[in-house]
Amino acid sequence: MNTREKEAYLREYSILKSQGKPFFPYSVAKDSIMAVVVMASIILMSLVLGAELGPKVDPTTTTYTPRPEWYFFFLFEVLRIIKPPSLTPLAAIGVPTIAMILLFLLPFYDRSPERRPERRPIAMAAAFFTIAAMAFLTYEGAHAGSPNQIDMEPPPAVLAAGGETLRMWEAGKQVVAQSGCLACHKIGENGNSLGPNLSEIGTTSSRQAIARTLVNPTAPMPSYAELAPEKRDALVEFLARLRGE
């Protein structure tokens, strides 16, 4: 906007303003009605949806759903979509940061004096794309399978062995699903890419090494020393059988 356009706007605006009505009581009345609507919605939501407390925190526990508040679902989904671990920092911090910087600097790169939406096609297209993307990602994030689920068939070796081995493997799979490993680790097609991928952990680590790591892990992974011994044995058995088959 150059000086002439600025002055034209200010002139136009001062006329519009002088023809308007005072803030009190006209706008205050509308705002008050809106405030009553907001208050009523909050009270209604509190009464209908309630606020029950979940189970008490337990860092080494079995069932939990690490889900954020619903308005962070889109961010969660961005993380799930961008798979390669090398791109995870980009997804987690890069995309939101870039979006925030673009939002922050909006008045400095969109300098045209035009204000009518129908004459700002680029701005409108960008806005509708952003809204659609966020709505889609929120929807997908809301319907994403809980990280407690794990779809996996026993590998041939385990099936062949059958009996006790198969039982241990299934029990280990259950422990993995319940202990929240997939919140950070990827196993096959399941889980997130925050921590190391465990799909082929059996080829690189021995049973002893896996057991050691579970008890005494590197931060930020929580220790699973509190896990019952038979659960931990099953977990180790399951993990050691992961050979990318």
């Binding site: 925190v57 954020p68 929580p222």
Partner: protein, 267 residues
């Protein structure tokens, strides 16, 4: 000797009776006395603060014609924030920010205290309402082009308020200290940690150490209760000042009708 009192403001001076109006027997009612007390109190304050000019400037500024219901979204957001502040103070009266007792204090509030779950529900769902209103308010500003000259700075402050609101939600999520909040926050902090350059430092700062521990809760509590609300209040003050200073935008399709007499002057 009776005239030592200072002169009364004109509005309060006793008016001479109109002929035939009454016979001078009207009594000053209780209502009039109360009104007079109120006016004199306001005068006393105004004499010492000169606030009335600012209040008049704020309340009786003109709003351009054509404004519609979308223009109430900003004040609705402010109202949601005030609701969060009030319910938050009530929650703080019962909350114990120690890792061992936080959950117990919230359980007590939810299950034992009269209307405890109701107030907690208002705070919990009020945060959703506030986030929705922030986004709607931002959408109105965007579609109406209200972020353009001369209101660029107010847009920037608004984006800061959006970020502060989201941080508020993130830090508040941990405080009930149940399974859900603990694990969601663990993952959220880990996500922060993967960020480039400052990621690991931000991670350590949020967790108050290399691992998620007892001090993490105290840190989130301080951020949620002191730092972020203080910053939000300051930013809202600046935001509102600029709104009053620069004026509410007119809808973009409003065209000013040049008054007929001024057109004559131009000719």
């Amino acid at each position: 000797m009776a005239n030592l009192k200072p002169p009364l403001p004109r509005a309060l001076r006793p008016q001479p009776k109109r002929p035939g109006e009454d016979d001078g027997k009207t009594k000053i009612g209780r209502k009039d006395k109360v009104a007079e007390k109120g006016i004199s109190t306001l005068d006393w304050i105004d004499e010492r603060t000169s606030l009335s000019g600012g209040a008049r400037w704020l309340m009786f500024r003109k709003i351009p014609k054509g404004t519609n219901w979308f223009y109430t979204l900003g004040s609705a957001t402010l109202f949601a924030f005030l609701s969060q502040a009030v319910t938050g103070v009530i929650l703080a009266m019962y909350y114990d920010p120690s890792a061992t007792r936080a959950y117990e204090s919230m359980r007590y509030l939810t299950n034992e205290v009269f209307l405890g779950e109701f107030v907690r529900g208002m705070h919990k769902w009020g945060s959703s309402v506030m986030v929705i209103l922030v986004f709607l308010h931002m959408g109105r500003t965007f579609f109406y082009g209200a972020y353009k000259y001369p209101r660029e700075l107010n847009w920037v402050i608004g984006v800061v308020l959006l970020i502060l609101t989201l941080f508020m939600s993130f830090t508040g999520y941990l405080l009930p200290f149940d399974q859900r909040s603990f694990w969601a926050t663990t993952v959220g902090v880990a996500i922060n940690g993967t960020g480039p350059l400052i990621g690991p430092y931000l991670n350590d700062f949020l967790r108050a150490g290399p691992e998620f521990g007892v001090t993490t809760l105290a840190r989130f509590y301080a951020l949620h209760m002191l730092v972020l609300p203080g910053a939000i209040v300051a930013m809202i003050g600046a935001h509102l000042y600029l709104v009053a200073r620069l004026g509410t935008t007119a809808p973009p399709w409003m065209k000013a009708e040049i008054p007929a007499d001024s057109r004559k002057d131009d000719a």
